[in-house]
């Protein structure tokens, strides 16, 4: 999956979770700029995990604070093949 495609899907997920138009969310948006608080953040990660069938570890989740972070995190998990299957930290 190309980076553009991944970014597009992440933007769509965040837009749906936050109930905002997708064009408000750019690849450079930070969670802070988008008004995404900690509860919104874990809700978005839940949606991301469901969409890509991956498991994002808590430690990695804590470091995510932007659209770019989400995209990079997913790309790393998909590439490593990690994060799938039974969830165990």
């Amino acid at each position: 999956m190309s980076n553009e495609e991944l970014t597009g899907r992440v933007r769509a997920i965040i837009a749906a979770a936050q109930h905002v138009p997708v064009d408000k969310i750019t690849p450079d948006s930070t969670f802070e700029e988008l008004g995404i608080d900690s509860l919104d953040g874990i809700n978005i990660l839940f949606a991301v995990e469901s969409e890509f069938n991956i498991n994002i570890p808590d430690d990695a989740a804590q470091k995510i604070g932007s659209v770019r972070d989400v995209v990079a995190g997913i790309a790393a998990l998909l590439e490593s093949g990690g994060g799938k299957g039974p969830v165990r930290a």
Partner: protein, 379 residues
């Protein structure tokens, strides 16, 4: 707790391989047949069993001699966050996964949050005000506070109050996993390397009556509850607010007619999440000013875990016994100071200290805060 020994170990009630966290503070070796016959067990979820047994122990410890008049003038107020979670989970697994089209008719009486309160009423014959408060992690502090106010006002002569919780069902644990606040190893409140809370289960009940009445009948007195304060953050559904905590602590001090300088120990909410411990520290500093550096504070959740709706009751028992025995329980598993949590948190080892007055904090999801104030009894 005197020994600073955590009851945290690999989770046994649920398949750990299905979870991102694997440790918990479970009640080990619980055999309901020691306390109930088989028919009774059919009516009682684990959380109600914990509550009923804790109440039996409290009533026996208080050596209550029941009369009709006393039963009519006694209240039962319990706290529970999730009630019969295990029962509900089991019923729904059968329905949704095992395609069993019927749910056990005892599911409703087992699941209801007031099941423990109702069971205690049935066992003791208490027919006064009996109800349950469900305010997430503040449930049993709210319950004890309400019971305390009823006894103090003279609305009732006596109250049985506390809380119980049994939360280890897969569905509920997966929901906690999704919240990303459960530690993958252990519970290290106020420590820089804290990684979140450890879930626990259990129950504790207190018998409350006016001090004069307890003295007159020669009852064993563990200590006094002298104040109760509560507040709502009106800030965020899960993030804590320092302002709300400050208002609840001040309200408890005011209700107790205590000056901040009279408090020597605080049993903290101390969940070991990044947000709670720093916010709680800031709140304590705001209320107590320079006296904050003379306070001893600990989170006993480092040992008994976070028992949600039972937390306030277990911590009230810990605080009362700390005052009675002159031993302040430690914050276990503490490794590194955190500048954001720069109070004396009694790291790892209990401290011998005879203190007069203490607080116990509970700050719940939903922004609901409840703080109890205690005084050592010289009786």
């Amino acid at each position: 707790m005197q020994q600073g020994r955590p009851g945290i170990a690999p989770l046994e009630q649920v398949d750990r391989s299905l979870l991102r966290f694997g440790n918990a503070a479970e009640v080990r070796g619980w055999d309901p047949l020691r306390y109930f016959d088989e028919k009774e067990i059919g009516l009682l979820d684990r959380f109600a069993q914990f509550g009923a047994v804790a109440a039996r122990e409290a009533v026996a410890d208080a050596a209550i001699e029941w009369t009709t008049e006393l039963r009519e003038n006694t209240a039962i107020v319990t706290g529970s966050c999730v009630g019969g979670q295990n029962t509900e989970d089991e019923g729904f697994v059968n329905l949704y996964r095992n395609n069993i089209p019927r749910v056990n008719p005892l599911t409703i009486p087992r699941t209801m949050e007031n099941a423990a309160a109702s069971r205690i009423s049935l066992e003791t014959g208490v027919v006064g005000p009996t109800y349950t408060i469900s305010t997430a992690c503040s449930s049993s502090n709210h319950a004890i506070g309400q019971a305390f106010w009823m006894v103090r006002s003279g609305a009732v002569r006596m109250a049985i109050s506390g809380g119980s919780e049994a939360i280890f069902s897969l569905g509920f644990l997966k929901a906690w996993e999704a919240m990303r606040v459960v530690s993958p190893d252990t519970c290290r409140p106020f420590s820089k390397d804290r990684r979140g809370l450890i879930l626990g289960e259990g129950g504790a009940m207190l018998v409350l009556e006016a001090l004069d009445s307890a003295r007159a009948r020669g009852a064993k007195i563990h200590g006094e509850i002298v104040g109760f304060g509560m507040s709502s953050d009106a800030f965020h559904i899960t993030q804590p607010s320092s302002d709300g905590a400050v208002r609840a602590i001040r309200a408890a001090l005011s209700d107790a007619a205590l000056q901040p300088e009279e408090i020597a120990y605080i049993n903290a909410h101390g969940t070991a999440t990044a947000a709670n411990d720093a916010t709680e520290t800031a709140s304590i500093r705001k209320v107590f000013g320079a006296h904050a550096d003379r306070l001893a504070i600990s989170s006993t959740k480092s040992m008994h875990g976070h028992t949600l709706g039972a937390a306030g009751a277990i911590e009230a028992a810990a605080t009362l016994l700390a005052l009675r025995h002159g031993i302040l329980p430690p914050t276990a598993n503490y490794t590194q100071p955190d500048p954001a949590c720069d109070l004396d948190v009694i790291p790892n080892q209990a401290r011998h200290a005879q203190v007069e007055c203490a607080l116990s904090n509970s700050f719940a999801f939903g922004g609901l805060n409840a703080v109890l104030a205690f005084r050592r009894s010289d009786s």
